[in-house]
């Protein structure tokens, strides 16, 4: 059981190390890449089953008990995130076999992908705040290299912005950790949760919570800290964009949710209005930015931002239903978003450009109806059309908002939803639908065999998952609401990590 909890970190590490040693053979690297990520999916599903059955799993590294040692704490939310990371990772690995050019692959693309996954999984599993910083750095470091790999001018420009702003955020995170340690003398999140709840010094707690909000907010790309995202996400190869879009900002969201449920629970007087405002602005600016763009990936990049707003909304409302909505939203969003970037890559391969205006004259639909339909599913899901996954995710959030009478934010969420539909329709009309069904003469740049099955497979699988999440929304929402209930049950988390004595100790003096 304890091995299972650390496997999501060890497996990518081993695969990454093996791929570096086998750097001479691209073929072996590809096989290892696909096999290891598929194994990660299986491991993560087993871990999820275990957590679902047994409750929170705690592993103390080197058998040092918390709060002295570092521990991995796997609750339902964490294990759901690991499953999603593994699925995205596997899809990316399969897509990359043909989707990433040989030159990039020979410069250690696959090892970097494994290390990125290791960092992401580690961040989802750890129960120690400094350890969380270290995992952030692990995933950032590999994302820096993945972003710059290939040395194209656009990429380098995007990478400089991305690296600078992420280093700023890391420095703020580190500063917050320093103050946190200086004030409370511990770095274990369960122990911190207990000590923060008991402290009289609310000033420092508020300061700290804001420092964390800014540090993680930069990584999650919330308003007004998101400008690095649309400046960099459209520059690397499509497979890299897809895994970044699916996972990296969500690690920031995960950290915000973790910190603002466990350490600094939402305060209706101060953090809730602030977060609701940030959520509303994030949704609005993201979706309006997307409406003004005409490049496939830039439209999608801005939509990442607007979707982050929905996740923040669920956290800000802070009712069990709203938080379940957030968890459900993340589950839906990671799959859909990664898939949309994959499909942008397919469209680019078919038509040789990802500028929506230039794709126009001969539609992708005319070239490959299958790709067009595969775009349609996640796009409609993103906009929230029933019966796809996005509809239920939004439904839950809207209902949660109405229950506690936050009318304004719900209005914003619904307007943003319509504007999302507008953007998706724009892409659909410009890239997939416009123009005559057949016009061979103008389409010489087209490459009919551009879409190999190995690139279609992950796209089709992710689309199938989107449909399945929609069709089985009931049971999946049930999991999300149990994950949310666990997130709100701070005592349960603390008891699982520190044991029963710690709780009694606190009550007795």
């Amino acid at each position: 059981m304890s091995t299972l909890a650390v496997l999501p970190v060890i497996l990518p590490l081993a695969a990454g190390a093996a791929s570096v040693l086998l750097w001479k053979s691209l073929r072996v690297q590809r096989v290892v890449g696909v096999a290891a990520t598929l194994a990660l999916v299986i491991v993560s599903l087993l871990l999820f089953r275990e957590v679902n059955r047994e409750g929170i799993i705690v592993v103390h590294m080197g058998s040092w008990p918390s709060p002295i040692g570092i521990s991995f704490v796997v609750d339902l939310f964490g294990s759901i995130m690991v499953v999603l990371a593994a699925i995205t990772g596997a899809a990316t690995a399969i897509y990359s076999v043909r989707g990433i050019d040989k030159r990039r692959q020979s410069f250690l693309y696959f090892p970097l992908l494994h290390i990125l996954l290791m960092g992401v999984c580690g961040a989802f599993l750890t129960g120690d705040i400094f350890n969380l910083y270290v995992w952030f750095e692990v995933l950032l470091m590999s994302s820096f290299v993945l972003l710059a790999l290939g040395n194209e001018r656009d990429q380098l420009e995007g990478a400089i912005k991305y690296v600078t702003i992420n280093l700023m955020s890391s420095a703020l995170f580190l500063t917050a950790i320093g103050i946190l340690y200086g004030t409370f003398g511990t770095l274990d999140m369960a122990d911190l949760s207990r000590k923060i709840a008991a402290t009289q010094n609310t000033g420092i707690v508020t300061t700290l919570s804001m420092l964390f909000l800014i540090a993680f907010g930069i990584k999650a790309a919330i308003f007004p800290l998101f400008f690095w995202l649309p400046a960099s996400y459209h520059t690397p190869p499509f497979a890299v964009s897809a895994i970044f879009a699916g996972l990296l900002t969500k690690v920031g969201v995960y950290a915000i949710i973790r910190v603002f449920t466990l350490l600094f629970p939402i305060d209706p007087g101060f953090t809730r209005p602030l977060m609701l405002f940030l959520a509303a602005m994030t949704m609005l600016t993201g979706v309006l930015g997307a409406a003004s763009q005409m490049e496939f990936r830039r439209v999608l990049s801005f939509h990442i931002i607007s979707q982050i707003g929905y996740m923040l909304l669920g956290l800000a409302l802070a009712t069990p239903l709203a938080l379940a909505g957030s968890v459900f939203y993340i589950m839906h969003h990671i799959i859909v978003k990664a898939n949309l970037f994959f499909i942008a890559g397919l469209a680019e391969r078919i038509r040789g450009t990802s500028d929506l205006k230039a794709i126009g004259p001969v539609s992708v639909y005319a070239r490959s109806p299958l790709v067009a339909i595969l775009f349609f599913i996640p796009a409609m899901s993103l906009a929230g059309i029933p019966p796809l996954s996005g509809f239920f995710a939004k439904l839950v959030l809207v209902r949660a908002g109405l229950e506690i009478g936050e009318w304004a934010i719900i209005a914003v969420a619904l307007v943003v939803s319509i504007l999302t539909l507008y953007s998706m329709t724009k892409i659909w009309a410009e890239a997939f639908w416009k123009g005559p069904a057949r016009r061979e003469d103008e389409a010489e740049s087209d490459n009919k065999d551009a879409v190999p099955p190995s690139m279609l497979l992950p796209v089709a699988t992710l689309a199938a998952i989107t449909v399945a999440v929609g069709l089985f929304a009931g049971p999946i929402f049930d999991i999300a609401s149990r994950a949310a209930a666990q997130l709100l049950d701070k005592e349960g988390y603390v008891r699982a990590v520190l044991g029963d004595e710690a709780m009694q100790e606190e009550e007795s003096p």
């Binding site: 400094f130 910083y133 270290v134 750095e137 950032l140 470091m141 820096f144 290299v145 710059a148 040395n151 194209e152 001018r153 656009d154 380098l156 420009e157 995007g158 990478a159 400089i160 912005k161 690296v163 600078t164 280093l167 700023m168 420095a171 580190l174 500063t175 950790i177 320093g178 103050i179 340690y181 200086g182 004030t183 770095l187 400046a231 960099s232 459209h234 520059t235 490049e295 830039r298």
Partner: protein, 115 residues
């Protein structure tokens, strides 16, 4: 001592932000390096500044001699230094490549992707 260190940390943060906001990407690197130092120094002082022994257990005893300094901030800083060293090395190569690609170290020239 605590106050002196606090002022120094603030000063370094200010210098770091100033350097990051300059237009030259070479100064950007200096700014980021300073930013890391400021955060490290802050952790160092957050651990408590005191005249104390290193937390090493002498042979024959089971605990370090009192008073001993908190070893954890030092370990944290060590980790942070190693990480920022790696990141800075990468950043230097990145900046040098970007300089070659753009032909200018002025960040205002880095707007091609903004379309």
């Amino acid at each position: 001592m605590q106050i002196l260190i606090a002022i120094i940390v603030g000063g370094i943060f200010a210098c770091a932000i100033y350097m990051i906001l300059r237009r030259s990407i070479v100064k950007l690197i200096i700014g980021l390096a300073l930013l890391g130092h400021a955060a490290n120094l802050l952790i160092f002082s957050a651990g408590g500044l005191s005249k104390a022994h290193p937390a090493l257990v002498r042979p024959g005893s089971t605990s370090p001699p009192e008073p001993y300094a908190d070893p954890l901030p030092q370990a944290l800083i060590l980790t942070a230094i190693v990480i920022s060293f790696g990141v800075l090395a990468f950043m230097m190569v990145l900046v040098s490549r970007a300089y070659n690609a753009v032909g200018n170290d002025d960040t205002d020239e880095f707007v091609n992707t903004e379309r």
